[in-house]
Amino acid sequence: MSVVSPGQTATGVVERPEVGSVPATAGGVDGAEIAAAGGTTTAQLDRPSDRSKVEAPAGLEESASSVPPAPRAPALVSAAQPARAARTLRALAFAGRHAVTILAAAMLLGVVVAAVAPALITRSSPFDTDPDAKLLPPSAEHWFGTDQLGRDLFARVVHGTSLSLEGAVIAVGLSVLVGLAIGVLAGFAAGLADTLLMRAVDVLLAIPGLLLAMSLVTAIGYGTRNVALAVGIGMVPSFARTTRAEVLRVKQLPYIEAAVAAGARWPRVILTHVVPNASGPVLVMGVLEFGAAILAVSTLSFLGYGAAPPAPEWGSLVSSGRDFMITSPWLALAPGLVVGLLVLSLNHVAKTIEEARA
């Protein structure tokens, strides 16, 4: 990605799918391990309740609370309580097994809330200056500390979310649409059109994403929208390739033949049969590329081509914090940490979706 690629930043286009699928083995292994561990704990803790339920109708722990009143009241109490405890424990075991996924989902939720309604997360204003509170280190009051004008950095990061994500949304939206169109066209047309389109895609791949984005920004000017456009164009090749591969696979399936035999025209076949069935991997890729786009956009902003300074865009925040690296390193490091954690969460969620689909 990436412009970065980042995106094709340091990270590119072809390797993206691997990002999600490589740790899959690890996830499977340790998931099973933890599952096994969780299983034994619950089993052990379930045992007392089983024993006390001897007279009660044989039932699973879940239905233990709804067990009809047994003749002996004390037995019921002791039966219900461990059952409840077991349920809590099972929930805890579930949480433990999926701790990383839950954390990642929480991070994504937080970011969405910050983008839509930043005031829900922080009450501080991102623009209010306070000369008495300059360059304060992170504290309970100012989670990320304050900058050289006394502005609360956490508030700036939170309020900058929508601006920072806007670029990534535009970039991914553009590349999905264009990539899908090129991929479907190439996959269906075959022959010369396919060759030409794929060669064009190869050319785009040969230019490093960040450099391509920088040339585009040179030509069309600075600003978040332009940066997003440039990043999006750089990401088209990977979507086009994935879509084409999927279309080639789906095209040969019997139901497509059936649809054609039933008299459906090609546009209808493509829109109602091929695209929906080919879109799975493209979706997973979209989530991954969204992370790559965030990295790419923030890198370009860091280099100074994105939003103009007073706007609290994440990459620009890191860039302006650089001047205070020696005295107040948190100014540059905290916003970048948020970017990294967000992309990490996105990649993890993409991996989870991929595993669930498999």
Binding site: A26, R199, S215, G340, N347
Partner: protein, 311 residues
């Protein structure tokens, strides 16, 4: 031979197309380097009239029709003449040659570190017996892929320059100045390589011939080195081209973060002053590096893996 020729031809085609794409992007879209240079940069000292600007445009050949300029550019590019930099008034080729050595040093160091680190992580993740360590090593690359490289660079500066004072934070003179930017550039490629190699290694270790080799009485080390690693490393070879392309991107960010001289810095400055010929030259050089490495990989792949039929 036919295979070699067709691959070389393909590479040249991609290069030509990349050249055309950058030409189109930079020439067709609205922007005026001459005006940027003389009217915006100088402020009150230089305020040129429309006639002066036109004279300057014809000096740089910017007044000719588009197709003529394109042909001119093509003809010159073949002779390695990429025109003059507008902002520095010097041949682009000279500027590139001048700035290439520090970037090559940096990229070479970063690639070497990235290769070694990536292979080491993938190897250890499959070699070690402790499940905890194995899992940790398998997960580690996810961090390297997710965190922005400029942030990693700043973190390295904070730790190794300001806190422990081991390496210089800026500059490009001393050999030690390569270390931090090199590490920063190495982390992304290392993470990608580790993920790819780890997967291909753990897949290879499930193969029948690995079981056979073990059953024959070969030691674990021998099975690993002679059978598994050799076969598993082939897929990793294919991303080498991408890793090289990645270093161009990495160099732009690393040289900016560490204020080093080099092609990356040159690119960043060229974009800032809208120096089109210079940007074009750098893009062309990056595409050339990418295409060349991919060509080499394509050509040696059949030699390393005889199962691939030359076709």
């Amino acid at each position: 031979m036919k295979f070699v020729l067709s691959r070389v031809g393909q590479a040249l085609l991609v290069l030509w197309a990349a050249f055309t794409v950058t030409f189109v992007i930079l020439e067709v879209l609205p922007s005026d380097a001459i005006e940027t240079k003389y009217n915006n940069a100088g402020g009150d000292s230089v305020n040129l009239t429309e006639e002066n600007l036109d004279a300057l445009r014809s000096e740089f050949g910017l007044d000719l029709p588009l197709w003529q300029r394109y042909l001119q550019f093509c003809g010159r590019a073949i002779q390695l003449d990429l025109g003059n930099s507008i902002s520095q008034n010097r041949p682009v080729t000279d500027l590139l040659v001048e700035n290439l050595p520090p970037t090559l040093q940096l990229a070479g160091f970063a690639l070497a570190v990235g290769l070694v680190a990536g292979c080491a992580i993938a190897f250890l993740a499959n070699w070690l017996r402790s499940p905890l360590l194995r899992r940790a090593l398998t997960r580690l690359p996810a961090l390297g892929v997710a965190f922005p490289s400029f942030w990693i660079g700043l973190l390295l500066v904070q730790l190794f320059s300001f806190h422990w004072q081991l390496f210089p934070a800026t500059g490009s003179r001393t050999p030690a100045s390569v270390v931090l930017p090199g590490l920063m550039m190495a982390i992304g490629p290392a993470a990608i390589l580790a993920q790819l190699l780890n997967r291909s290694l753990s897949e290879t270790l499930q193969e029948q011939y690995i079981v056979t080799a073990g059953a024959k009485g070969l030691g674990r080390g021998e099975v690993f080195w002679r059978h598994a690693l050799r076969n598993a490393s082939l897929p990793a070879l294919t991303i080498l081209g991408m890793m090289v392309a990645g270093t161009v991107t990495g160099a732009i960010v690393a040289e900016t973060v560490f204020s080093r001289a080099g092609v990356g810095r040159l690119a960043q400055q060229a974009v800032e002053v809208q120096d089109l010929p210079l940007v074009q030259g750098i893009v062309l050089m990056a595409a050339f590096a990418f295409v060349t490495v991919n060509l080499i990989v394509d050509l040696i792949y059949p030699v390393l893996d005889r199962r691939i039929k030359v076709s």
